[in-house]
Amino acid sequence: MSGVERIAAAFEAARSDGRGAALMPYLMSAYPDLDTSREIAQAYVDGGADLIELGIPFSDPLADGSVIHAAGVAALNAGAHVYESLQVARTVSDQVPVVVMCYANLVLARGLERFADMLVEVGASGLIVPDLPLEEAPAALAACDQRGLALVPLVAPATPDERLHQIGARARGFLYTVSVTGTTGERAVNDGALPGVLARARAHTDVPVAVGFGISTPEQAAAAMQAGADGVIIGSRLVRAVGEVAPADAPAQARALVEAFSGALVVPGRDS
C-alpha cells in the first residue's frame, strides 16, 4: 500500500471505529531526546492515534509558536540531526501512517529526491512543508507523487476561493486546514468561523479535511469534529505536556492526553 493509500485507509478506519474524526497527534522528533521521542510515538499509538505527524527540529520555524519553537531548539541543542530525527518514524510507521512535518530548507538542503527517498526508507506516508506554498511546491509534489507519498498542503481561513481550489486539487492524503490566523499554539476558544472554513475547504477538495493550530483541549477537538473536520491535529498541547515532566514520565503523560483526545472524538451514541 502506498503512503497515500495508507492515509486514506486511516481516515476510513477511524470512522468505522466509531469516531467522527481521525486523531493526529504531533510529535517533535528528538524531543526531549531521541529515545524518549520514540517511546512517545509508541505512546501516541497506544493512546489511540490514527495517524502521527512527526516534526523535524528546525532552527527557524516561522509557522510555529513558542512551544514548538522552543522544543525544536532544545532538540537541536541536544544534537538532533535530520537523519536521526526521521528514523523515529520507523518506531511506529508499521502501525499507523506517519506524516513528516519539515521546513523547506531541510528538504532542499538534502535535495528533494534524496529527502523523499529517506521518507520512503523510514516508512513515512506523507510530508508537510509549512513554508512551501502552492507556487513553490510543484517539484516537491512530483517527487512525492513518484513515490506514492502524500504532499499535504495547508490552507488558511483567509485563503481566497480560487487559490483554495488550486490547492485543493493538488492536495494528497488530506488537506491541512489552519483553524486560526496565527502560528501554532494553544488558544482558549475555537473560532466560531470554523464550520465555514471547513465547509469551504471541503468544497474544493476530494481528500479528507483535517484541522490544526490552536486545538488544545478534548472539548475543542470535539467541537472541531462537530464543525465538520475529518481529522484533528493536536500539537503544542502535547509538546508542552511532555516537556513539563521528566523524560521517563513523558510517554505515560502523552498517552493519557492522547486517550482523552481520542475519547472526545467518539461519536455520541455510537460506542465502538
Binding site: 516561522l62 521546513y103 538542503a109 488558511a156
Partner: protein, 394 residues
Amino acid sequence: MSTTLPHRFGPYGGQYVPELLMPALTELEAAWIEASEDAAFQARLTSLLNDYVGRPSPLYLAERLSEVAGHPVYLKREDLNHTGAHKINNALGQALLAKRMGKTRIIAETGAGQHGVASATACALLDLECVVYMGTEDIRRQRPNVQRMELLGATVVGVDAGARTLKEAVSAAIRDWVTNVADTHYIIGSAVGPAPYPVIVRELQRIIGEEARAQVLEKAGRLPERVIACVGGGSNSIGIFIPFVDDADVQLIGVEAAGEGVETGRHGAPLTVAGRAGVLHGSYSAIMQDEDGQILEAHSISAGLDYPGSGPEHAWLRDQGRASYHAITDQQALDAFALTARLEGIIPALESSHAIAWTLANPDSAIDVVCLSGRGDKDLAEVLDKLGIAGPAS
C-alpha cells in the same frame, strides 16, 4: 502596465512562507504596483524625501581619506539623512504604502536599530502604531537607538531566542505578521524576505544610486571605477548598485562582515563564502547553513551585518559576475571607523565602516564611490569598549 513583479532573480527569491501570508503578499504586490503608477503617491513620497529626510544626500570627496587610500574616494552621505541612515528611504515609502492600504499597525525588525528608528519615525509622522522586534543582544549594544524608538512612540519587543540578534528579530516579526496580518503591515528593513519585498525595498533604495550616479558625473566628470557598499541583507548596496548595473565598466563591490575571520566560521558573509544556497525568511538565496540545512548564527561587531542571509538579487548579481562580494573583519572595520573619524570628522556606522575599510585595503582604482550608509553615533559605546580592549587604533 504590469500586474505582477518579478518573484525570482535567476534561481533566487521566491515566496517560502506559510500559506497564511500568501494573501497578504498578493495584496502588498498589487498595492505597490498601484502606488508606483499613482502620481499623487509618488509626489507625496518625493516631497517627504526632499523636505523631511533631506534628500538629495551629498556626494562628498573625502580628500584626507583619499590620500590614505591612494585614489579619490567619494562618500555618498546617507548618514546625513534624517534619522541618520539610508533606512528611512524604505521605511517612509513602505509606511506611506501601508497607510494607503488601510493598515493601522506597523511591525518591523531591527538589528543595529537604524531600521527600527526609521520605522518608528515614519509611524510617528503618519500616525501609525509601531512595534519593533529587536534581539536582546542588539538591545544591549545599540542602547541609544532603543531609547530613540521609545521616545518616538514605538514599542520595542526584545527577542530572546537563539543568538538574540537580527535573524531572530526577523523571525519574531514574521510570526507577529502571521498572527496579525489583517490590520498589520510588516516593514521589512532590507532587500530580503519573500517576493515582492526584495523588489519593493530595491525600488525605494535605488534613489541612492540614481543621485550618486548624477553627482559623480557632475563632480568628477566621469563614472566611478568602483561602487562599494556594505551588505547585511543588502538594501543600501542594492540601492546604490542598481542604477550602475548597465554601466559595464563600473565594478560593483559588496562588502560583507568577515567577523573574526571567514575561516573561523564566525562571520556574516554568505555571499563571499558562496556555499550551497538555501531558504531563510521566505526567500532562496545565499545563506549560512550546516549540512542538514539548519541556519547558522552569524557574527559581526556590526549589528546590521550580523545576519546569515542575503538579498536574492545580490546572489544573482554575483552568479552573473556583475557584482563581486568580499568580506572585512571586525578589526578592519574598527580601524576604518577610527580613521574616518580622525581624518574626516565623520563618525561612520560600523556597517558602513566595512565598505570604507575595503576601499582602503584595495588601492588600485581611479575613482571609488563608497556608500556611507549611516552614522556611527549608535556604535560609540561598543566601539570605545572594543578599541579600549584592542589598544589605541592608529
